[in-house]
Subunit: 228 residues, 2 copies
């Protein structure tokens, strides 16, 4: 089994990343609608616009390849909708933290994964996803709230720790190595061996990526004054 | 009283139009979140992006003049939030019709009003607000639903007629001539006379604008197969 199998399938990648950014947009749009004041609403609307612009950039890539966006995103709806439902939070601050932490981790993740895409698309997608997310306003709101309300800070620290688990699971399910499930490949003993070997190799390559993602997540938590 | 008083105050215009587009964005974002399928969700997300882009274009104009967006929009929040609440509709199709009809009418209205703005900003704002709103997907969804469900068609026709009233009231309250209320100006008999004369002249100039707005609204209703 060639290790290039770790490179994501372009269609799979684009459909999943596009739906992921649409979910981030929807979460931010809810934060806009329920913002406590006009200045914050205005700042959040810019962040929502950034997520939407990333989404539409990925849709453009899908169309450029002659595919239908809705068809390409469809396989990821159930899993990602469930993720957004679980991470929508009990109040506005939890929602804001979800937008910031999950959005940041998933952008990081898809940028990292885009390394494995063909040269005619990978760098362009990485640049698109790496654009400023406009999340300064989220950081500022969260920092202020955490500084002035210790109980909220403790609750948000717990929420952040729960979020990272759910978000890493979503990222993990997006890795091409998950295609190497024994159910699909183990119809012969040789196939099972090859799959097991490839799986082990995939895990070895995936591990450092997740270490990086978790380190960046921890820096975001620290920046807010939360213990990861 | 000079009839140039009918020209809108630039700050007033920008603050109000900006908050109006933000409200349109929020309504469309709700339609995105509750869309019945992925293709429609995707189409609506583009329309939401257009409203947001108009909003941010107006915010750029506000900042360019050295003003703070939240401060400039604040005076319009109560009135426009109440308008959005009243026009949010009982279900997804009513919400969609509101986005289409109110969004169209208010864009038309602010474009018309921008004629009275200074030359260094009026035409730029008119161009911004005149950009494609991406509402084809709304029209398509509404047409299809109305064709296949006569009862829904009757209900939406009623809703459209109610909407136009509420939307024209919002537009009317945005006209500079409403500053000429007798309460504020009638502290002397001469003032009251001048205000009354200016008011009458303002009404005479406003009348054809509203006739145009209603004609465009009627064409939108006709295009959907609804009787205005």
């Amino acid at each position: 089994m060639d290790i290039s199998s770790l490179a994501p399938d372009v269609r799979h990648f684009l459909g999943q990343a596009a739906y992921c950014e649409l979910g981030e947009f929807e979460a931010l749009a809810r934060a806009v609608a329920t913002a406590p004041n006009l200045a914050v609403k205005e700042g959040l609307s810019a962040a929502a616009g950034r997520a939407l612009s990333k989404h539409h950039g990925l849709i453009t890539e899908i169309r450029r390849r002659g595919h239908e966006p809705a068809t390409e995103m469809a396989p990821f709806v159930v899993n990602l909708d469930e993720f957004r439902r679980k991470t929508s939070g009990a109040d506005w601050h939890e929602l804001l933290l979800s937008c910031y932490l999950a959005g940041g981790l998933l952008d990081d993740f898809f940028i990292r994964l885009s390394d494995g895409l063909p040269r005619d698309i990978g760098p362009r997608v990485a640049q698109l996803l790496g654009e400023d997310s406009g999340t300064d306003v989220l950081v500022h709101e969260l920092q202020t709230a955490i500084e002035t309300d210790r109980a909220l800070g403790s609750r948000l620290a717990l929420w952040g720790r729960r979020l990272v688990g759910d978000t890493l699971l979503v990222a993990r399910s997006a890795m091409p190595a998950t295609d190497l499930s024994s159910d699909e490949r183990a119809d012969s003993a040789a196939g099972a061996d090859a799959a097991a070997a490839a799986g082990a190799s995939a895990e070895a390559r995936i591990e450092p990526v997740f270490t990086e993602l978790i380190a960046a997540h921890t820096r975001r938590m620290d920046g807010l004054g939360l213990t990861a």
